[in-house]
């Protein structure tokens, strides 16, 4: 039987990590085996008692002591109240939920495209690739509105030492790359066509990235997206996170692109306005 009662979660510390975003260090009290088996791309439900509950992705996964980190962007009442919590606060935790990214680090190059705070669900994948003894051939294209809107500053500084990491901006300062991640795909493909795309960001950006990679010869079954939907129960019951006949909290949030199209009832590419928004 499902028990939707949260477990105790301790807020260890938080620091600013991009405008309107904070990086939280958290500790699950008495972590369960399932917590320690969490995978990059899965998510957890965080409760602030008396205020509400919302899904967040793991930036770093729970360790043996139950410690992990998460990026939270201020978007509403719950996240504002969370920002106001002092270290030592008791919060609620449920998780892990959903399906994470497929992890295949071999000789074939992988491409990660992230937009705005969509970098957070991909952090575990990038981190793992950057720690390979012989660095996996993983390239990142990270788009943001402007440099102040970038997240995971400490992690990016580390990743940029080991991985091809392109940063691009809607509003670029002199010397910075301008435009959406799509504008830089050719550069990555020229260096070696990727065997797979892992993508997270605003849905229009993900669709456009997937279509651009399809046009460059990548198959739909080698493309994965991480969907954002409003989620409440995370048990596939409350109905809010539907994507066609699928519930994102259970079947997602990562979907292979061909499955995503099927759930939308479309077999052909989706025409979209050019993506301009980063969360």
């Amino acid at each position: 039987m499902i028990d939707s009662t949260p477990r105790r979660l301790h807020l260890l510390e938080q620091y600013e990590d991009g405008e309107d975003s904070r990086h939280f260090s958290l500790r699950i009290e008495q972590p369960a085996a399932s917590d320690l088996a969490a995978k990059a791309g899965q998510f957890f439900m965080l409760t602030l008692p008396g205020v509400g509950e919302a899904p967040f992705t793991y930036v770093s996964l729970p360790d043996a002591q139950g410690c992990f980190t998460a990026l939270v962007r201020r978007a509403g009442r719950l996240t504002q109240a969370l920002f106001d919590q002092p270290a030592g606060s008791v919060l609620g935790y449920r998780g892990p939920f959903g399906h994470g990214w497929p992890l295949f680090f071999n000789a074939q190059p992988l491409l990660v495209v992230a937009g705005g705070c969509g970098l957070a669900p991909l952090a575990g994948v990038i981190e793992q690739a950057s720690r390979q003894a012989m660095p996996a051939r993983l390239s990142v294209i990270y788009g943001a509105r402007h440099s102040g809107a970038q997240v995971l500053g400490r992690e990016r500084a580390r990743w940029q030492q080991t991985l091809p990491f392109i940063e691009t901006f809607d509003q670029a300062a002199p010397g910075q790359r301008q435009g959406t991640p799509l504008l830089h795909l050719d550069e990555v493909f020229a260096a070696g066509p990727p065997a797979a795309l892992l993508c997270c960001g605003p849905e229009p950006l993900m669709r456009a990235s997937a279509e651009a990679c399809l046009q460059r010869g990548l198959r739909a079954d080698r493309i994965w997206l991480s969907l954002e939907r409003r989620m409440h129960c995370a048990d596939g019951l409350c109905g809010h996170c539907y994507l066609g006949s699928s519930y994102v909290c259970q079947d997602g949030p990562t979907y292979r692109y061909d499955r995503y199209l099927q759930l939308l009832g479309r077999s052909s590419p989706i025409s979209q306005a050019p993506p301009a928004l980063f969360c």
Binding site: T5, R8, G50, V51, A75, D235, L237, C238, G239, H240
Partner: protein
């Protein structure tokens, strides 16, 4: 499944009410009908209406407002409902099929199951179709399916004759212990078939429903048709409230004194504008047409039918009766077949 003859259904009702809290649909003197408790001493005749009550049995199991947990400032405490053994007396086949559907959907939901497992279901075959019902087309009625009930009442074709009573489950058989009942006459299956044929004829072929389901699954309904239907949706949640299979809910968190808090869940509706709206403002189902399409795809979509081995619509017709925009099931299916 053993069949008994029952001189008076009130005798069975009194017997069951002596064991459990019994609910039956009763008129309210204002033209309405409601589920009400009936004691073992109750002397009112059991006179079921051929019209369905406005509300199905849904809220008996899937509470309209349900406490999930409490927080005392330091610890979280699960809250399961306090249940007493209960019996729902006189459920129609469609509403029983809806319970069976939700039994699957909420199979792992502790709150639902706590209530459900404390409940005995007494079904009632229909002699006539209710107004607007189409259970015979969807296979959810009019005869109560044995696997959906514990006991099944078979009304007599002629007033004053004995009723039939089928024990459809072990719990139903056990609940009859102490009642001295004779076996039913051998012709009860023929009577059921005659009742079924009568209701089926009254409901007709329902071509719009059948063709509408086909067109929906062929994705042959264009966006403009859904948006035209959406214009008539007031987002009032009437349909989702009365629908016996609708199951969406939302959490409701509340602070209590001294650092305490609690979370309840309350019925929600996929037809509300903000149902899928994210904190960022992004809304994957921003238009009323998209939301109306979702509602009906959930009821008649093939993916869902395969998952539950039945449609999410049981043909009760309550949405037709409650919708102020005339886009209940018949209104929608007529429009999608003849846009």
């Amino acid at each position: 499944m053993h069949a008994y003859s029952l001189d008076r259904p009130e005798r069975l009702r009194a017997h069951l009410a002596a064991q459990r809290r019994l609910y039956e649909v009763r008129p309210d003197c204002q033209g309405g009908q409601h589920w009400q408790t009936v004691s073992s001493q109750d002397r009112h005749a059991f006179e079921p209406s051929s019209e369905l009550p406005p509300f199905s049995a849904k809220s008996f199991f899937f509470g309209e407002r349900e406490l999930l947990f409490r927080f005392d400032g330091g610890q979280f405490y699960s809250a399961l409902p306090q249940v007493v053994p209960q019996v729902l007396f006189g459920l129609h086949a469609c509403d029983l099929q809806a319970v069976a559907y939700q039994d699957q959907f909420f199979a792992q939901d502790a709150h639902y199951q706590a209530r459900r497992q404390a409940t005995l279901l007494v079904g009632l075959d229909c002699l006539h179709s209710c107004n607007g019902g189409f259970c015979s087309v969807l296979g959810s009625g009019p005869a109560v399916q044995a696997q959906t009930a514990d006991l099944i009442l078979l009304p007599p074709a002629e007033a004053g004759a004995d009723w039939g009573l089928l024990a459809a489950s072990a719990a139903g058989q056990q609940a009859l212990h102490g009642l001295d009942l004779a076996s039913a006459h051998a012709d009860w299956p023929a009577q059921r078939q005659a009742n079924e044929a009568r209701v089926r004829a009254e409901q007709g072929s329902q071509e719009d429903i059948i063709e509408g389901i086909a067109r929906l699954n062929l994705q042959a309904i264009d966006d403009s048709t859904w948006e035209a239907l959406g214009l008539r949706c007031l987002g009032c949640s009437g349909c989702t409230s009365v629908c016996p299979t609708c199951s969406c809910f939302a959490p409701l968190d509340r602070a209590e004194g001294q650092g305490g808090a609690l979370r309840e869940r309350v019925w929600d509706s996929c037809l509300y504008q903000g149902f899928q709206q994210e904190a960022s403002g992004h809304n994957p189902s921003a238009t009323a047409g998209q939301r109306v399409q979702r509602f009906w795809t959930h009821k008649f979509g093939e993916d869902f039918r395969q998952r539950f081995d039945s449609y999410g619509c049981v043909g009760c017709g309550r949405c037709d009766r409650v919708c102020p925009g005339s886009i209940g099931v018949h209104g929608v299916m007529h429009k999608v077949v003849q846009p």
